[in-house]
Structure formats: C-alpha cells, structure tokens
Symmetry: C2
C-alpha cells in the first residue's frame, strides 16, 4: 500500500523530527524511479502544510563570503527565536568536485544550533534537476515548521534565475574590490534582486565599500526594479565584526510587509507555482520522450547522419518525432 | 501528389527566380499547418544544395547604424561580384510595432541592386520560431546561389545566441560614446563574436572611437575567445565615409581561411546542425503535447487550481502528463 510507504515521512516531517526530515530530503534527491514516485506522493501531501516560511535567496561572487554571511545571519535569527533551514543550489559543484555546504565546519556555530538545519547541495544532475530538488527540499523544511529558509546559490547566471523563481527575497552579496565591481555582475541579475549587501565592510575596507555602494546604487538606478513598490537598497555589512547583519534582516522584513500589503507576495508565489508546474511538465515530457525505445535506438544513428550531412536536421527531427503520429 | 506541390518552389529557388525565392520564404513564414508541412518538404529537398555561402551575423546596440553598415558592406560585396542576401531576426519588432528591415528605403541602394536580396523579419511568433524561420530562409537563399547571407539581429541577448548558432562569422557593431561602452555589452556575448567594428569612426568621433577600441580590446582580452585559433579583432569603420568596410570583409575572409584549414568550420556547422535538430525535436514535441485534446481542456482548469493553491504544482504537472502513461 502506498500510504504505508509515505506516512512515516509525512508524519516525521510534520512533527519536526530531524532524522525524518533528512530522510525525506534524501528520498527527494534520489534518482531511482521508485524513490521519485514515493517522493512525489510525499510532496503532494506536504504542500498543504507549506507557504508560511520566509524564503530568502542569497547569491554573490565567489569570495564574497556567502557561507560566513549566512552563518552570521542565521545566528542572529536563531537568537531572535526563528528556526532556520539553509539549502544550496550548486550544480557546478558536480564539475569542480566541491560542494558548497558539504564542509559543514564552514558554518560551525549554526550547524550545531538546535533551531538550525543545514543541508548541502545535492550532487550530480542538471541545474534544472538540482533546482527542482532544492525547491522540494525547501517545501519539506517549510512543512517541518522552519520559519526561514535560506537558499544559497553559487552565482552562475542560470542558477540565479532558478533561485529567484523560488524565493520571496533575493539578496546579492558583493565585496568591494579594485573599483570595477560592476563588471562582475551578470546582466539581467540586477533585475532579479531585492537588495545588495557589500560584505567585508570593515577595517581598511570601509572606504572602498562606501565607494562600491555608490557604484551599485547607480547601477540599480539604471536597471528595472523587481517590483514597482520596491527600490533595492545597497547595504554594508561585516560577517567578521557582525555589523549590518541585523539591518539586512530588517530590510527583508520591511520588504515582506510591503509585498504582503500590496498583494504582490501572493501574486509572486502564484506565478512561481505556475512556472514550477510548467517546468515539471517540460521535464516529464522530455523524460517520457527519451525513454521511448524507438527514440533511444534512433538517436545515435540519426545524430551521426546529421553530422555526416547525409540527413538534413529537419528530416532528422521528423524521424525522431515519427512515433508521435501513431499515438 | 506532394511532389507536384513542392516542385515549383524547388525549381524556382534553384534557378534563382526572385519571385519564387520570395514565395518560398513566404511559405516558410506561414503558420498554417498545411503550409508548414509543404515548407518542410521543400526545405528537405533544398538542403543538399546548401552549405556554400558565407554566413555572416551582425549584431549591435540600437543606434549603432546596423542598416547603413549592412548597406555599405553589401555594396562593397556586390561591386566585387558577390550576390548578397540580407535577413533579420527580430522578435521584438512584434512588441514595438516596428520591423527592422521593413522600411526598405533604409537600404535604398542595396535593395535595388540586381545581385542583392533583402528580406525583412517575419513578424509575430516567439524568438525560437522566428529564429527557426530565419535559418530556413537562409538555406533557401543559399540554395538559390547567394554567395553571402547576412543575418541582422536587434541585439536582445537571446536573439544573439540564436543568430550565433546559425552563422560562420558573428560581427558586433558598436559606436563610441561617453566612455562606458562596455556596460552596454551583455555578458556572454563577447564569447560569441568573431570581431567588433566601431561604426561612425569619422570626423569628430575619431578620437573617441580609438579610445573605445582600446576598451573593447581589453574586454576581449579577458573573455574566452570563440575559437582557440582566432583572437577577435576590434576594427574602426564609417558607413558614412565608407572607410574600413573593405577591411572588415578582409577579416571575414581571413577568419574563413583559418577556420577552413583547421577544420573548425566543418565542426562548427556539424554542431549547428545537431543543435538545430534538437531544437526542432523540442519544438515538435511540445507542439504535439499542446494540441492534445485532453491537455487543451485541462490547462485552464489546472492553472486556476494551482493559482488558487488547491492543487500542488507537482500534482498539477502529473495530471497534465497523465495521458502519456496510456501511450
């Protein structure tokens, strides 16, 4: 019976059982067809219990100190009584062999706090797959009652778009450098973010940070804001000296207040839900296509013919799609 | 009989009959299912006659003077005895109401030259659709014997990627401005291009153009080149004074020589053919999905349920994909 399979996961998550939360996430990250099916059933049951958390995305250039910043912010939050889950989207770790949060010692204090839950990035898979799993993991954490879910991304343009499509507030962490900070920002990213925080604004860095702030403010001035009711601010902080962290959280709450009162938060989440549905439909359709025995057999042959120029790409596509006519 | 339908198109194109070339392109741009089917059959028959033209893509910021530049280049080419076709990819014209080349007077001289053929952008449709049709139109022109096909894009990031995926040489046209030219360049675009030409390098502009050139050279220095055997040069030109145009064409030919001798041109075109095939497969698969009667009926209902939060996006996707299991 299916319900017997999924009930322990659902019950465990809903009663905030950390072992069962972890087990449920592992189930979600599994690529075994059997697990995928069970995971889907679990998610379906958990979704009615989601929607109450504050979903915060954090991106930034490598070296901006994202982990230390998230630990500092997380510690502020748990001290205020919030429970916090930290997740990561990082398909690039597959290539580089590293994993964003795998080295939990990077968030030493936060990872041992009873009100915090840190989960490294699922390894392997495409960006779409990883992002889809991060979204489902986020929902598990929400159903488990975490008040704040922080999703970290390693700032490839695509993973930033993916994270922006699942959070309420998207923060970009930067550092001050040689004065050419702006060129490190991918075009289009400024339109996704709700605030910029310049980290490591401490000691000798203060002046450079203030200069960088001006630059970012100018850049934001010329980019389309994510909402007509919100002008993304540029903030300074130091994860080392723990300054400016509380202020960033205040901005998140202020943004939330505004987005809730204008109804934008609800509309944003509705749109995110629809986008996610279509993402899943596309993924499901293409999975179904590639596992068709006819397609599987034809692909290597047809690709070779196209490369050799003996079959036109148009004819090749028709050949691969041929079996659809019989459906 | 099908062959009776398509034969006049094929024969007309192959004997370089301008009226039939235009009619064939109109057939390709039609969105009627019947026309689409005929168009596909025509393309299949024309593809063996393609591959000999030099495929040149031109992008650039609005105001860079792309039309005047293309006219100047086109006139240089027809005077050297080349026959030239000019096409445009511009889905944005749908929104703005304008069309890149619709106003043919913008290429007054070239458009009346017997060895030139100018075709405005197909109006309507998605970028993917427009790009797909531009690619097929390019092949029609090649089969008709045009020596050079110039594809103009109105520089939205996506249409630049689409054009780069169908040409042999991709030129970016820029102008010198207030010293912040680099910020007008979308990230990732520099990796697609084979040369930059700074237009309007005449009169009072000369000094600024020389300065802009230095800036672009630096930017190119820090970006990954499109080929290990080619460093994209930065050139100066004036479509007004007709200076530097011949030099740009010489660079295109030099690039072609190098890419041919290293075998890169062949590999690039093979890859483009495979990419195109997969684009068509995805397009065909999704068309087939959306025209399914079950899906058509379900979409409005399911989207509403997801927006209202009564159905989870995961469940909704499963419902839409449900009919696949029966196939």
């Amino acid at each position: 019976m299916i319900s017997a399979d999924i009930q322990p996961y659902i019950d465990g998550v809903l009663r905030h059982d950390r072992r069962m939360i972890s087990k449920t996430i592992t189930l979600i990250e599994s690529s075994l067809p059997k697990h995928k099916k069970t995971a889907r059933l679990v998610i379906d049951q958990l979704i009615p219990h989601t929607g109450k958390a504050i979903r915060l995305g954090v991106t930034g250039v490598p070296g901006a100190g994202k982990s230390t910043f998230i630990e500092a912010l997380g510690m502020v939050l748990v001290k205020e009584g919030y429970s916090v889950a930290v997740l990561a989207v990082d398909p690039s770790s597959v290539r580089s062999g590293g994993s964003v949060l795998a080295d939990k010692t990077r968030m030493e204090k936060l990872s041992t706090h009873e009100n915090a839950f840190i989960r490294p990035s699922p390894s392997g898979g495409t960006l779409g797959g990883v992002a889809s799993k991060t979204r489902e993991t986020m929902l598990v954490c929400e159903a488990a009652g975490f008040d704040v879910v922080i999703v970290e991304t390693l700032g490839s343009g695509q993973s930033e778009v993916a994270v922006a499509s699942m959070v309420d507030f998207f923060l970009m962490l930067m550092i001050s450098g040689a004065g050419d900070e702006l060129q490190g920002i991918k075009k289009g990213i400024l339109e996704l973010i709700d605030a910029i925080a310049i980290n490591k604004a401490d000691g000798d860095n203060m002046q450079r940070a203030a200069f960088a702030r001006k630059q970012f403010e100018t850049a934001l001035h010329f980019s389309a804001p994510s909402s007509p009711n919100w002008s993304p601010p540029v903030l300074l902080c130091s994860s080392l000296e723990l300054t400016g962290i509380q202020e960033i959280w205040d901005v998140v709450l202020k943004h939330r207040g505004k987005m809730t009162s204008t109804g934008e938060l609800e509309i944003k989440r509705e749109k995110q839900a629809i986008d996610w549905m279509w993402f899943l439909v596309k993924e499901g359709l293409s999975e179904w296509f590639y596992k068709n025995p006819y397609v599987k057999t034809m692909i290597p042959k047809i690709e070779r013919e196209v490369e050799e120029g003996t079959t036109a790409p148009t004819t090749a596509a028709d050949k691969l799609l041929f079996f659809l006519d019989e459906k």
